[in-house]
């Protein structure tokens, strides 16, 4: 799992690359949370465009980051255009509470 993070005003942009399963979800969420808290940010954009595999551990990771942004009265946005990842996102029901955009540019303009 490769994680690239950048800050855009009060938003943490997280680009994930590789496989998101139980094995690597813990390190991933620790890295995201540390940055989010240290820099005093409010919003997170999770870019899943380059994720090649995701199981329900990924859903847990998204739900956890969503809670963290809500507690800062911020927003969590997911970026994805991969139909396989889309299926598991839809199945989990999290798209009822989380916004999804096909590109990172779309997500940034929607904040």
């Amino acid at each position: 799992m490769n994680i690239v993070m950048e800050i855009n005003k009060k938003t943490l942009i997280v680009k994930l690359k590789g496989e998101l399963d139980h094995h690597n979800s813990e390190t991933t969420r620790n890295k995201i949370d540390r940055y989010f808290v240290e820099k005093g940010l409010d919003n997170i954009i999770l870019d899943l465009t380059e994720i090649t595999f995701m199981d329900s551990s990924g859903i847990g990771l998204i739900m956890g980051r969503y809670k963290n942004t809500v507690s800062k009265k911020g927003k969590l946005i997911v970026v994805n255009n991969n139909s396989y990842i889309d299926r598991i996102l839809k199945m989990s029901g999290i798209l009822k509470i989380i916004e999804l955009y096909p590109t990172l540019d779309d997500a940034i303009t929607k904040l």
């Binding site: 995701m54 859903i59 847990g60």
Partner: protein, 146 residues
């Protein structure tokens, strides 16, 4: 397709999650599945193996066994552990239920297996272990529709 069978045994370590789903996906490849069908199988395996590691063995050391059989165009996958077993199976299989909320688990494991596979049966005995059996028919599509 000729019938076929394989058996894989490995330690309950989380870095074996990726290894085990890739092995089963490679075995299933002889049925010529679509990319979506392969993803479904990999995801279901990952959920079952993760359950054995987190819940069955509670991060302790144990063996996980995967047996897979190909019969015609159907693949059957049996994932078993000799861990602590599931006390209340009905509760465990409910969407969003997790016995370990502090670990940020979504509680979607069994729901994912049910959705992505055709059939799912779970047998569990406390302090004996859990056996998850799943099947999926691979639809043979003509090459131009792949």
């Amino acid at each position: 397709m000729e019938n076929n069978y394989m058996k894989l045994e490995f330690l309950s370590k989380s870095n074996n999650e990726s290894f085990s789903r890739v092995v089963v996906a490679a075995f299933a490849a002889q049925l010529d599945p679509t990319l979506e069908e392969i993803s479904d199988i990999k995801t279901a395996i990952s959920e079952a193996v993760t359950n054995s590691i987190i819940h069955g063995y509670e991060y302790g050391e144990g063996m996980i066994t995967i047996e897979s059989t190909i019969k015609g165009n159907e693949i059957e996958i049996i994932i078993s552990d000799e861990g602590k077993g599931i006390g209340d199976l009905d509760e465990a299989m409910e969407p969003f239920y997790t016995s370990k909320p502090n670990l940020e688990r979504s509680g979607m494991g069994f729901t994912v297996m049910e959705t992505f596979m055709d059939t799912l049966t779970v047998e569990s005995r406390e302090s004996k272990g859990t056996v998850v059996k799943m099947t999926k028919k691979i639809k043979s599509l003509p090459d131009e529709e792949r």
